[in-house]
């Protein structure tokens, strides 16, 4: 009797021991499993912290190459409205500064912050059968308004590498179409397929530290204090970079000099 | 209080045991009771169907391991293990070519206590080894000498049956090893004299000039395989032989074998 009881007890214990769930402890959840998957957008960037600035000029050395006039005979309206327009690839001011050069920060800004795009849209106008402005910069998700100020058919055909291509036809004078680019991207062209000479260049950024040298050849960008990599980009002469550190309240000077490359 | 004490004392294990042993049910099941005397021991042995197969008394010589190696007993034990594990395997093994191989895989992978398959296989190897050792021992101890020649003959037949059981069982996993081994083995049957169509004398067995009786579809090999090649018919045939036919014959002969030993005075009694 005793031995039988002992046997039964041993068997029961065995079964229970075998069934007892051990093991499986070497596994663990991946990082960030609890966050629920939403991409953190980070705290918003406060423009008031941009107490410093980087400023300078884009200089041009040597003689500016001659820009030939554009043949606009394909469209009688353009022949009239855009008479005398020259190509805009290289435009140098009287004091030897290069116009229409993009200047922007590549690194050094806080990438953990969320930079809201400006509410005001960028306007790309078509007047006299050319794009105005010829070079501009914008932020991702910022609206861009294409306006046709000419009384002829234009189309705006943007050629980004990463964003969706845009090709919008505007037949009526005064028409405006609004769109935006959702991904930050380096410089790309915008062309008109009807008038092949028309072109414009833009770049899309995920931060507000960008500008162009415009008509004057000078630029200035307000930034929070820190060390930055500054890049200048010109449609013909390409890219130049420089590094600068700026403290609060100060203005750091950063100028670039381009010249026509020797043949 | 004292009534409680009485009650409790009546419930003591000893009293309880006694009451049980005196009950009608107990006495119906256990006719003889606890064997405390020689006579009772003998009665228990003779009165129980399982025990009465065993001799009441065993000579001391019968437990001489150095004499017997206990090989016969081990063989029989393995036979029982194989029967039991084989029976359990029959629940999960289907002897058709669609299922045989994958059922064996399933037994290994997924069936609870599918380890029965491994035990069955190892047991079969062990049984063949122990059968040979047993034969060797019997020879060495001269236990085949008169009047035990008949038993030796029965033992030889049992050896053949054991090997046949191994042979038929080998095919059942239906893998490459099984199929080709049986192909080789069954091809030997082709060469049987007279009964094999490639053996000597096969074309002597004809009815008249040109009615051959022994051909590839009517010879010993065909009988063994149930066909001309090792296929689904062979598998089924081997399965039936392995699970029913051969064990029955072996069991029958084992009964004869064991009885003969008892009759000749018990295991390893003096000649």
């Amino acid at each position: 009797m005793n031995s039988q009881r002992a046997l039964g007890l041993a068997l029961a214990l065995t079964l229970a021991a075998a069934g007892c769930g051990g093991g499986g402890d070497e596994f663990s959840l991946p990082e960030g499993a609890g966050s629920g998957g939403a991409a953190p957008t980070g705290p918003a960037y406060d423009p008031a912290t941009a107490t410093a600035s980087i400023a300078g000029s884009i200089l041009f050395e040597g003689d500016a190459p001659e820009m030939p006039p554009i043949q606009m005979s394909a469209d009688p309206y353009c022949l009239d409205a855009g008479a005398g327009t020259r190509e805009e690839a290289v435009m140098v001011t009287d004091d030897a500064k290069l116009r229409n050069t993009m200047v922007f920060i590549r690194s050094g800004h806080d990438t953990g912050l969320f930079y809201a795009p400006p509410a005001e849209p960028v306007v790309l106008d078509q007047e006299g059968c050319r794009y105005i402005p010829h070079v501009f910069t914008m932020m991702m998700n910022q609206d861009i308004t294409f306006r046709n100020s000419d009384n002829t058919l234009h189309n705006i055909h943007a050629f980004p590498m990463v964003n969706m291509q845009i090709n919008v036809g505007q037949a009526i004078q005064g028409m405006e179409t609004t769109d935006s680019f959702t991904i930050a991207e380096g410089p790309f062209a915008i062309r008109c397929d009807v008038h092949r000479w028309m072109n414009s260049f833009t770049a899309v950024f995920d931060h507000p530290f960008h500008t162009t040298s415009g008509d004057t050849g000078d630029y200035a960008i307000n930034v929070p204090p820190g060390a930055y990599e500054v890049v200048a980009w010109h449609e013909r002469y390409g890219e130049m970079t420089g590094s600068v550190t700026v403290a609060a309240g100060e203005t750091a000077e950063m100028s670039f000099t381009y010249s026509e490359p020797a043949e | 209080m004292s009534q409680l004490k009485d009650l409790l004392s009546n419930l003591s294990p000893a009293k309880l045991g006694e009451a049980i042993q005196k009950s009608q049910i107990y006495r119906s099941v256990f006719r003889v009771g606890v064997p405390v005397s020689d006579r009772k021991r003998m009665l228990v042995m003779l009165g129980n169907v399982f025990l009465h197969l065993h001799p009441v008394k065993v000579r001391k010589s019968g437990i001489r391991l150095r004499f017997t190696w206990c090989m016969g007993g081990i063989t029989f034990f393995l036979f029982l293990v194989l029967t039991f594990t084989g029976l359990l395997l029959m629940f999960y093994y289907r002897p058709t070519i669609e299922y045989a191989y994958v059922d064996i895989i399933d037994l290994r992978e997924q069936v609870p206590l599918g380890i029965m398959r491994e035990i069955h296989r190892w047991g079969a190897h062990a049984m063949v080894i122990s059968v040979w050792l047993h034969m060797f021992r019997v020879f060495m101890t001269g236990s085949y000498k008169p009047p035990r020649e008949f038993n030796w003959g029965v033992g030889v037949i049992l050896l053949v049956l054991t090997l046949l059981l191994s042979f038929t069982g080998y095919l059942l996993p239906w893998d490459q090893l099984a199929m080709w081994a049986i192909t080789v083995g069954s091809n030997m049957a082709r060469a049987t004299p007279f009964a094999g169509y490639e053996g000597p004398g096969a074309n002597l067995l004809t009815l008249g000039e040109n009615i051959p009786l022994i051909s590839s579809t009517s010879d010993a090999r065909f009988a063994l395989l149930g066909g001309t090649r090792v296929g689904e018919m062979a598998l089924l045939r081997f399965y039936v032989l392995h699970c029913v036919g051969l064990p029955l014959v072996a069991g029958f002969l084992m009964a004869v074998h064991f009885w003969r030993i008892r009759r000749d005075g018990g295991i390893s009694g003096p000649l």
Binding site: A17, G22, F27, P30, A74, V168 | P112
Partner: protein
Amino acid sequence: MSSETPNGGTPKPAIPPPAKKDPALNISQRGDRLYTDNGLHKWFAISSLLLFVFTVWMIVDDYNREWRRYQRGFTRLSVLQTELDRQAAAGAIDVAAVNALSAEIEAARVRIAENAATLSEVESRLEALNDEFYSTNQAYLFARAEYDVERYDYEEAVANDPENAEPLRVIAENRLADINQNLEDVERLQIAIEETTTELDSYIGERDRLSSERDGLVAEATQLEAAIVTLDPGLIRTSIRNAPILDFMNPSETVNQIQLQNLHYDAPFLQVPRVDRCTTCHLGINDAAKDEWQQPFTAHPRLDVFVGADSPHPMDGFGCTTCHAGLDRAVEFSRAGHVPDNAEQQAAWEDQYGWYLDHFLETPMLPMDRIEASCLKCHTGAGDVPEAPALNMGRDLIRTYGCFGCHNMPGYEEVRRVGPDLTTIGGKLDPEWVKKWLADPRAFKSEARMPKFWFNSNNGGPEFEARNNAEITAITEYLFSRSQDDPLPAAAPAGGDVGRGQALVESVGCLGCHAVGPIPDDPARTQHRRRFGYNLASQGSKTSADWLYNWVRDPRAVWHDTNMPDMRLTDAEAADVAAYLVSLTNPEWEAEAFPELDEAALDEVTLEFLRTGSTGIQAQEALAEMTLEEKIMTTGEGLVARYGCFGCHVIEGFETAQPIGTELTQPGSKLLNQFDFGFLDIEHTRTEWYAAKMADPRIFDVDRVKRPEELLRMPDFGFDEEQVGAIVMILTGLVKDQVTPDMRNDLTADIEAGRGLVAQRNCRGCHEIEGAGGDIRSTIADQGLWPPLLNTQGAKTQPMWLHSFLQEPGEETLRPWLSARMPTFYLDQAEATVLGKYFSAIDNAPYPFIDTAIATTDESLTAGRELFELAQCNLCHPAGDQMPDRDAADLAPDLGLAAERLRPEWVEDWILDPQAIAPGTRMPAFYIDGVSQLPGILDGDTPGQLEAFRDHLFLTIGNGERAEDN
């Protein structure tokens, strides 16, 4: 038998005294009984104990499988994850709202309590009504049943016994009246019940609604909480339900399996349905939320393509092992056939899992770099397999390099041999060039497709040099002696301009199939379709300007079976191109001279051939009597047969000779023991063998001692690692698994045939078709000058027009701005039809009969003209005789062709969103998100405007047919 029974009977004499007291009977002193021997007890006890221990051990060991450990780990992780989710959900609950609702519910409850008496009265009233309704309804239904009987009786009476019919009619009518009365009662009760229910609801309904609203707010957190309890009901419960033996009832740890009737595993001698048990451990494989969990729980990549319920390969229909191979029924890591991807992973697995390679498994899992091979089982058609770039490259490589010429391969029986026709070799080449070429084709041009037969790893040593040269000389002389040189059709005119020729070659479209020199990789697209035609480098060192002139002018006249189409070059253009090509020379090559023939080496080779079929002595005698010429011819012919040159080239006398290579019918299923690894120290797996072989086909001769005629013969193609991988992918994928037609991807025969023809003629060298192709784009910088994208071609063009265009592309100039020309491919009717059907099939467009009549109104036609002017289409598009004042490079397609060429429905789709059909097109979009940018006409109604455009295009500009006004 026993004379003493305890069950009653006559009392028996007393029991004799115990045997112990009688020495004669004393057991331990009699000497022949051993059952009191303690030794026996000892051994018995030990063996019993051992048996018990081993039995317990067996049960426990059999029970403790590794998959249980994984399932427990997964449960634990799931619980943790659910807890985190629950916390997040709980944090997201709007506590204020919940509290407000709770307050309202409490108020409602109070109100109910206040009205308890009324409420119970209403409830009991409702209950009574329900009871009454039940009985009344029952009476109604019974009455109806009775009526059916009585009516039948009446009707039968009318038919068979008219005299006695009247009473029955009366009965039936009375019953009908009863029924109507019952129905009224029932309906009255129904209305009463409704009213009472509404009344009841006015008391308790609000509370219920508020309750369910509050439950809704906390629903997510509550559900997650319940989920946690379900996942992990506690250690004791889990242990009991999963205990050995007890787990037959309701275990939480189970083997999971997917049974597939239509996909088979190749068990010995039979295909059996697969039973995939992978999901026993791979528990998170179909859960997108687990894409970052660690193995084995991680989700499958690309659930939209594989495994997901909405994918083309859902898990329940396809399982796992049909793609990954391995033993489907296994639930243990090594036995399932997991194969590491590289040596580091192998070391990690051996360490972590005790991994070993189960060498009894015929189909171990595919390493991940060969996983595309499994696609081939079902995707057997001619077209590209989506998501399988290496596989597609492999297929193209096999078609380009012509493996099927020497090895029988399924699917390539009808394809032409890939090498040029050698029956006219004398008209094009000279023997010196051919000898140098045979010795090392890639020294002539790096992109040479001709493989190298001599100076390889097993016959490259100095001892082989004389022999190799002798063999090459013999073959060359033999080929030239059999050459039939027809004279070339025309002589090249003098004065071909090299510069113009180069410009032509680079712009007219040659570079879609050809390249000049090495082809640089382009990360944006494949370049292997530019290997379809032979590389054009060094042509000047190879052949004459005459031959090149004739060739580019009319390829078929020179070689009837060529794949090269007719570029419709004028004679002057052809001369320019010939001049350019002949200017491409390889001076290094020309400077080398081929060594003189070594007669002793030639004798050695000739002797081998003479020996077959005769004794050595006879062979020596025959050799002594042969002239040099005879030796060369015998040897040349024998070597052509030995090396199997006819596998790629047409050679006179060998047109029907059998290919010499191993059959490649099921290379992916070839048993491992049938591979000869030789002395090469590589992993003994199929993929490793194939990879080693493709990288250097002679490698398995390393360290072996062989007679020259026994050496391995497969030539060296100079494949790089990527190409080797692609070809090995195909070889691994050709398996003996038979997939039933219902499991294959179902492509109609039209699409299959079309894809086959497209691959055969290399259309994708220039055009992007079905998402792939356009290799020529890498040579054209301006996107506007690319050959057109053939997306929606079937829906776009009219079948008759397309048919005639494909046969005669030069008839009309569609795109004047393109310098590339669509070549004339000499397509016959059948082939043009195949293409027409193909394009229509992939776009689900009707073929070949369509209705181009357009139903329209005058208003639409007028609007169309206005739209046309407003959008200023004629700034870029010629329209009939109206030609814009622009360079040809700036023109758009001629709209006058549209009525005959385009399908009307397509034109509407095009104008609505050109970028969707042809991304990068110069056609501007006048509709942004469906909103018209041309307001004022037809009130800016987009569909109306599109129809107006169409009408103007087809009916006003073109002379399309206007449908009858109904």
